[in-house]
Amino acid sequence: MELGSLQRRYIDFTTALFREGFLDNQYTQLQQLQDESNPEFVLEVVTLFFEDSEKLLDELSRTLDQQVVDYKKVDAHVHQLKGSSASIGAQRVKNVCMAFRNFCEERNQEGCLRCLQQVRQEYFLVKSKLETLFRLEKQILAAGGSVPVLW
């Protein structure tokens, strides 16, 4: 694909991500922290987020699957997931985590399980969106262009 349409696609895609609430201003903050001295900063942080989140989601499944659920443990995991999603600007994941913590407090297993399903869904959605975003950036750079700055 030629550079111009790649860049247009990037702009449209990014704008939609923000409009639909997948990403919030914190993601922009990350982008602003990236520069020539740290050209892969966003990718590095987001990759850490992916690794961390998948570990947490597995832990959450395991913990909620117990005969006697340790809600303190569940809450601790959700707290961590909420924190890391907030840190990278994964807004929808963060929002589900907030609801999730309420169910933990109520010791509501059904509510927790529903939230786990939801948070998993939102996580994989944002993961796929971000991977597309990074792919587009790579393609633009490979075509000799620069990634549009939307802030």
Binding site: L30, L33, V45, H79, K82, G83, S87
Partner: protein, 270 residues
């Protein structure tokens, strides 16, 4: 607001301009695009009001930047989350601070030369791994030693009690915030931390440096002016954060000891 070409307002003194320049350009790198909108807009305001004078000063300042070798401030950042450690490190480096990160309060104490069971750092044969810091920024929620515990240890140590400590948390809990401030924390930041938050750190580090040196009237005025300019907008944004989560801003407005810095910063009322 007076426009271009109008007489400069009497309130906008050269002292404020100088303070803003210090804030914006020292120390910094040529590639530093992390300077906040806040400082930029302050300078733009100043520029509009003072017409040609500011632009010239700014250009001269930029020339001096490369030659300027002001000592860097060293910040110790404590957070059990790897992502947040990476973030805070980048934020601090972008703000031209030297950074060391650790993942626990006990590691922090070790680096500061204070063992958990001690109240004073070992006077003889200091550990070669010890570092000197101008500020400690720590997460509140950590397994083992919380940020609050770490704060108390630092403030309870005769050798470290003057090191400014800032606490961060993803949770907006007024009682927690008050407890930390009363425990001696200079500030309490809500996560995620932004570049604009870090501007607020400079006065604490400057204050620390001033304590070591001869107190200079000029410098002190600058620090308080800097503080008032940055705190103005930042306290509003923190208030907004607190209000979004349904809490009264009063409860989350940081309180300070009776330093003049505090009075200047929080004089403003909504």
């Amino acid at each position: 607001m007076p426009g271009l070409g109008g007489p400069p307002p009497p309130s906008l003194s050269p002292l404020l301009l100088h303070a803003l320049h210090l804030l914006a350009f020292r120390p910094s790198s040529a590639l530093d695009h992390g300077r906040t909108n806040l400082v930029a807009s302050c300078l733009t305001l100043a520029r509009k009001d003072m017409s040609g004078v500011v632009v010239i000063e700014r250009e001269r300042e930029e020339e001096n930047m490369a030659v300027d070798r002001e000592a860097q401030f060293h910040v110790l950042a404590v957070d059990d989350s790897l992502i947040d450690r990476k973030l805070i490190e980048r934020l601090l480096k972008t703000s031209s601070y030297q950074v060391t990160t650790v993942d626990s309060g006990s590691k922090a104490l070790e680096l500061l030369g204070l063992r958990e069971d001690q109240d004073i750092s070992s006077p003889s044969s200091p550990d070669k791994n010890e570092i000197a810091v101008n500020l400690v920024i720590t997460d509140y929620c950590m397994p083992g030693m919380t940020g609050y515990d770490l704060l108390k240890k630092i403030k309870g140590s005769s050798s470290l009690k003057d090191v400014p400590v800032v606490i961060m948390s993803s949770e907006n809990v007024p009682s927690r915030i008050n407890r930390c401030l009363e425990g001696g924390a200079e500030e309490f930041f809500l996560k995620p931390i932004q570049l604009s938050d870090l501007i607020r750190l400079r006065p604490y580090m400057l204050k620390g440096k001033l304590k070591e040196q001869q107190p200079s009237q000029h410098q002190e005025t600058n620090s308080s002016t800097i503080s008032s300019c940055s705190s103005n907008n930042n306290s509003k944004s923190n208030k907004r954060k607190a209000m979004d989560e349904g809490l009264s801003p009063e409860k989350t407005r940081p309180r300070f000891s009776s330093s003049s810095l505090a009075l200047v910063s929080y004089e403003e009322t909504t």
